[in-house]
C-alpha cells in the first residue's frame, strides 16, 4: 500500500507549491495594480501617523494641515469654502482636487528613488513625512470673491481671477461648495446631490461658451482682414435657429443694422455667423487650438477639456459658440488674457513653490507660450470692447437653461488681472454687478505686474 502514500504525499506537496506560486503571483504580478485601487486605504492610513504635507496660500496661510494626537492625525481645512479646489485625501473617501493632483509631493514620495522608497518605507517602515505645497492663491482676493458670491446669493457658478501677465491664479471660487472637514457626516448627501457640490466648477465643469466666444471670433476675423469694425450688418438682429429654438439678441437694440461692436454690446449673434462662414472650419479650429480651448490646461489641478475635437457641425453654430466646443472658466480666463495682453496667451500657474526632500523650497519653472495669437493691432481694436467687462449669454445643453458669462480685465491700459465669471441659469444683472465689483478691485490692487510692461511689486 506504500505507493498510495507516496502519491498522496506528492499530490499534497504539489498543491501547496501551487498555493505558494499563486501568492507570488498576487504579490508581484498583480501587486502594483491591486495597491493602486481606490479601495486600498493603506496609503492614507499611513498618514494617520506620518503627517501629510501642508498646503499654503501665497502669503503662507495654511489651507490644509495634518493635526491631532500622534498616531491619529487628521486632515484639517481652515477654509472650507475652498474645498472643491483643495479636495480631500481620506482613507475612507479617496482623493480629489489639489490633494490628488499634488499627492506625490504631499504624501512624500515624489522625487525619491525607488530604492530609497523601498528601504525606508517597506523594510524599515519609517516613511518620511510629506512635503508642503504653496499655491498662488491670494487670500485677500479669494475673500473678496467669496463675499461677492455670497452677497449676490449665487447658487451655482464659478469665478476665476488670474494675473494677466504671469498666468498665476489668484482666486478660484466654485458654488455650490461643501466643507471637507465634514465628509464623514455628509458623504452620502454630497455624492447624491444633483447640484454637484463636489465639482470644482472653475476647472472641471464644461459649459457652452455662447456669446463668450464672439470676441475671439471677431479678433480672428480682424486678423484675417475679413471684418471691419465700422461696417454695419443689416440683418444683425435676426434670431439664429438652434435645434428649432430661436436665439434672439440678448437685449433689444435700437435698430436692426449694427456694427460688430454694437453686436457684442447687445448680444446679437447673426454677424458672427457671417464671420464664421467667411473664416471656415479649419481656421476656427486652428484658432481654438492656439487659444488652448481643445486641451486641458496643464496645471497641478484636475482639469478637463472638450471631449470631442472633430467638429462636424455647421460653421455658423461653431462660430457663435453653441456647437460642440465646451469650455471651463479657466480656458476662458487664459484666452481673455491673450486678448488683453498683446495677443500672447499666458500659461496658467497654480503652484508657487514645492518643498524638496532637503526641505528647501523650489519654485517650479513652467514653459511659457510665446506664440503671438493675435497681432497687436487686432488686440488694440478688440480689447477696448471688453475693457469695461463683457457679459454674454450661452444656451446650455438642457432645454431652456441659459448660462451667463462675464469676462473682463483691469486696468484697461495695462491689465493686471483677468476676471472670468460664470453663473448657471444666467442672471445678467447679478453677474454685471459682481463683475464690476471685481473689476474695481482689480483697478485698486497694485501688487501685480501689468502685462504691458510697467508696474507691479508682488511675486
Amino acid at each position: 500500500m506504500s505507493h498510495q502514500f507516496h502519491r498522496l504525499s506528492l499530490a499534497f506537496s504539489l498543491m501547496f507549491a501551487l498555493v505558494a506560486l499563486t501568492v507570488g503571483y498576487w504579490n508581484f504580478v498583480e501587486g502594483p495594480s491591486l495597491l493602486a485601487r481606490a479601495d486600498n486605504p493603506r496609503r492614507y492610513l499611513v498618514e494617520r501617523r506620518v503627517p501629510r504635507g501642508s498646503i499654503y496660500a501665497q502669503d503662507g496661510t495654511p489651507l490644509a494641515i495634518a493635526t491631532g494626537p500622534a498616531g491619529q492625525l487628521v486632515r484639517e481645512y481652515p477654509y472650507p469654502t475652498l474645498s472643491p479646489l483643495i479636495g480631500y485625501a481620506s482613507p475612507l473617501f479617496g482623493i480629489a482636487g489639489l490633494e490628488a493632483a499634488a499627492d506625490g509631493v504631499l504624501h512624500g514620495d515624489a522625487g525619491r528613488s525607488l530604492l530609497e522608497v523601498y528601504w525606508t518605507d517597506d523594510v524599515l517602515n519609517a516613511p518620511p513625512p510629506g512635503r508642503a505645497v504653496t499655491v498662488t492663491l491670494d487670500l485677500a482676493w479669494q475673500n473678496i470673491v467669496e463675499t461677492g458670491l455670497d452677497e449676490a446669493q449665487v447658487e451655482a457658478g464659478a469665478v476665476v481671477v488670474m494675473e494677466a501677465a504671469t498666468g498665476k491664479l489668484r482666486a478660484l471660487a466654485s458654488r455650490p461648495t461643501y466643507d471637507a472637514n465634514l465628509l464623514a457626516d455628509q458623504w452620502e448627501t454630497l455624492t447624491t446631490d444633483p447640484r454637484a457640490p463636489l465639482l470644482n466648477r472653475p476647472t472641471m465643469a464644461l459649459y457652452q461658451p455662447g456669446g463668450a466666444l464672439w470676441p475671439f471670433i471677431l479678433a480672428e476675423a480682424l486678423q484675417h482682414n475679413y471684418g471691419d469694425l465700422d461696417a454695419t450688418f443689416p440683418f444683425a438682429t435676426d434670431p439664429i435657429i438652434i435645434s428649432g429654438q430661436p436665439l434672439p439678441c440678448h437685449t433689444v437694440p435700437p435698430e436692426t443694422a449694427l456694427t460688430l461692436g454694437e453686436a457684442l454690446q447687445y448680444g446679437c449673434a447673426q454677424p458672427f455667423t457671417i464671420l464664421g462662414k467667411r473664416l471656415g472650419t479649419s481656421v476656427l479650429v486652428r484658432n481654438f487650438t492656439a487659444l488652448g480651448f481643445l486641451e486641458a490646461p496643464a496645471i497641478t489641478l484636475p482639469t478637463v477639456a472638450t471631449p470631442n475635437t472633430t467638429f462636424t457641425e455647421s460653421v455658423a453654430l461653431m462660430a457663435i459658440g453653441q456647437g460642440q466646443l465646451t469650455l471651463t472658466p479657466l480656458h476662458l480666463a487664459q484666452a481673455t488674457a491673450a486678448l488683453a495682453c498683446g495677443g500672447v496667451r499666458p500659461t496658467p500657474q497654480f503652484i508657487a513653490a514645492v518643498e524638496a526632500p532637503d526641505r528647501q523650497h523650489i519654485i517650479p519653472t513652467l514653459p511659457t507660450t510665446t506664440t503671438q495669437i493675435y497681432s497687436s493691432e487686432v488686440v488694440s481694436a478688440v480689447a477696448p470692447l471688453l475693457a469695461q467687462g463683457y457679459t454674454a449669454n450661452a444656451l446650455a445643453g438642457k432645454a431652456g437653461q441659459t448660462n451667463t458669462w462675464f469676462m473682463g480685465f483691469a486696468p484697461a491700459a495695462n491689465p493686471r488681472y483677468v476676471i472670468v465669471i460664470l453663473l448657471e441659469g444666467g442672471d445678467a444683472a447679478k453677474i454685471e454687478a459682481l463683475g464690476q465689483m471685481l473689476l474695481a478691485q482689480a483697478e485698486a490692487n497694485v501688487s501685480a505686474p501689468g502685462c504691458r510692461g510697467e508696474g507691479g511689486s508682488g511675486n
Binding site: Q4, G24, N27, P41
Partner: protein, 430 residues
C-alpha cells in the same frame, strides 16, 4: 536522549526562539504605533511555551519513539497563530490561549491512551452515531457565537463547540476501521487475480452500502445546515480514504466527477453557493459589497511584498473576520511572501510527516487511520488557502492550528495526539 529526541528539542527550541522574537517585534511595533505596552503578548508567549514544553515532556515519556517533527511544527503553527490573533484582537487572543491550554491537556490525555487504539476500531458504529447525533443536535439547538450567520455550534455561557469538527474525526476513524476490515471483499471483485481473470469495474455493492450510508448521513446533515465547506471536506476525505484503501485512481477520478456534479447542482440550486461562486469568479464587479472580503484579502496579499510590512505594522484589520478564515492574508501582509512560504512549508512538512507515519504504521487499520488523519489536516488547509488567494471559491473552513476557533484547535490537537500514537505504534506490542 536519542537522536530523534535531540532533533525534537532543537526544533522546539527554534520554535520558542521564533515566538520570543516575534512577540518582541510585536511589542516594539505596538509601542511605536500606539505608545502602549501590551503585557498580554508576554502572557501569550509564556503560556504557549509552557504548553509546548509540557506536551513534549509527556510525549517523550508516554511515546518514546514518536515522530520528532509533528509536535514542534504543530506548536509553532499554533503559537504563530496565537500571536496573529492576539495582534488582531486581545479578546480573541486570550480566548485562543485558553483553548490552547485545554488542547494541550487533551493532547497529553490522548497520548496516554492504551496503545493499540483497538477501542476506536471496534466500536466504529458507536462512535460515528455519537458524532452524527451531536451534529444533528445543531439542527435543533444550534447557535452561532457571533450571533449571526449559520448556526453550527452547540453550547452557551461563552463556551462553544462545533460538532462537525468532532464528526470529521469520528468519520475518519469509522472509514479506516471499515475499510481495514472489508478491504478484500470490497476490492477483490475488481482485482485481477488467478480466480478472477476479468475484474469488474466497481467494488461489490453490498459491502459498499454501510459505508455509503454512514457517509450519506453525514453529508445530509451538513447540507441541511448549509455548511458547504465541511461538506466539500467530507466528500474529499471519502475519496482520499477510498484511494488509500484500494490503491486505484479510478476512485479519485469518479469522486472528482461526482464532486463536480454536486458542485454544479449546488450552484444551480442554492443561492448561497451561486453568490459565493460569482464572488470568486469576478470579485471586481462588487468590491464594496459581496466581494469586499476577498478583494481586501487580495490587496493585503499584494501589500506584503517580499518580506512584509512588519509584524504589527500592517492594516490587516481591513479584512472582515481576519482572525479565522483569513489568517493567511494577515500573515502575507505582515510577513510577506517569505512568511507565506514559511507557513505553506510548515503545513507541507506536517502533511508529509503524517503520511510517513501512515507508511510505517503496522497494520492496515493504523495505516488508513494515519492517512485519513493527515488528510484531515491537509485538505482543510488547502481548501481555505485556495479560497483566500482566489484559487477556488471561499469555504468556511479554518486553517489547522493557526485560525481562531476552539473546537477546531481541540480536534486538531487530538489528531496530532493520535498521529503521535501511531508513529510510536510500531514499537508497541499490538
Amino acid at each position: 536522549m536519542n537522536l530523534a529526541s535531540r532533533h525534537e528539542v532543537t526544533l522546539l527550541g527554534l520554535a520558542s526562539a521564533f515566538m520570543v522574537l516575534a512577540a518582541a517585534t510585536l511589542g516594539v511595533s505596538n509601542y511605536f504605533r500606539f505608545e502602549t505596552y501590551d503585557w498580554e503578548i508576554a502572557l501569550g508567549v509564556g503560556v504557549w511555551a509552557v504548553c509546548a514544553w509540557v506536551a513534549f515532556f509527556f510525549a517523550r515519556r508516554a511515546l518514546p519513539r514518536h515522530d520528532p517533527y509533528l509536535l514542534p511544527v504543530a506548536y509553532l503553527l499554533s503559537g504563530w497563530g496565537l500571536l496573529l490573533i492576539g495582534r488582531l484582537s486581545t479578546g480573541f487572543g486570550l480566548r485562543q490561549m485558553l483553548w490552547l491550554m485545554v488542547a494541550t491537556v487533551v493532547l497529553v490525555g490522548v497520548m496516554h491512551l492504551p496503545g493499540n487504539l483497538r477501542w476506536l476500531r471496534r466500536f466504529r458504529y458507536t462512535w460515528l452515531l455519537l458524532g452524527l447525533g451531536l451534529t444533528a443536535l445543531t439542527l435543533f439547538f444550534g447557535v452561532n457565537p457571533s450571533g449571526m450567520g449559520q448556526e453550527l455550534w452547540l453550547g452557551g455561557f461563552g463556551i462553544y463547540l462545533q460538532p462537525a469538527e468532532v464528526l470529521k474525526l469520528l468519520l475518519v476513524a469509522f472509514l479506516a476501521s471499515y475499510l481495514a476490515d472489508r478491504r478484500e471483499q470490497l476490492f477483490e471483485a475488481h482485482t485481477r487475480s488467478a480466480q478472477n481473470p476479468k475484474p469488474a469495474v466497481f467494488p461489490t455493492f453490498s459491502y459498499l452500502v454501510p459505508m455509503l450510508l454512514m457517509w450519506g448521513f453525514s453529508m445530509l446533515i451538513l447540507l441541511i445546515q448549509r455548511d458547504l465547506g465541511m461538506s466539500t471536506l467530507f466528500f474529499s476525505l471519502f475519496i482520499v480514504m477510498l484511494y488509500l484503501a484500494s490503491g486505484r485512481l479510478r476512485y479519485v477520478v469518479m469522486g472528482l466527477c461526482l464532486l463536480f456534479i454536486a458542485a454544479l447542482s449546488a450552484y444551480l440550486l442554492f443561492d448561497v453557493v451561486r453568490l459565493r461562486v460569482e464572488a470568486w469568479w469576478n470579485p471586481w464587479l462588487d468590491p464594496a459589497g459581496r466581494s469586499y472580503q476577498i478583494v481586501q484579502s487580495l490587496i493585503a496579499l499584494a501589500a506584503g511584498g517580499l518580506f512584509g510590512r512588519g509584524f504589527g505594522l500592517g492594516f490587516p484589520g481591513l479584512i472582515p473576520v481576519a482572525h479565522s478564515d483569513f489568517i493567511f492574508a494577515v500573515v502575507v501582509e505582515e510577513w510577506g511572501l517569505a512568511g507565506a512560504i514559511a507557513v505553506v512549508g510548515l503545513l507541507a512538512a506536517l502533511i508529509v510527516r503524517g503520511l510517513r507515519v501512515g507508511l510505517i504504521a503496522p497494520g492496515i487499520f493504523n495505516q488508513l487511520l494515519a492517512g485519513g488523519l493527515t488528510a484531515l489536516l491537509g485538505l482543510p488547509a488547502l481548501l481555505i488557502l485556495g479560497g483566500v488567494i482566489k484559487l477556488i471559491p471561499l469555504t468556511g473552513l479554518t486553517l489547522p492550528f493557526m485560525s481562531y476557533g476552539g473546537s477546531s484547535l481541540l480536534v486538531n490537537f487530538v489528531i496530532l495526539g493520535l498521529l503521535l500514537h501511531l508513529s510510536n505504534a510500531e514499537y508497541q506490542k499490538v
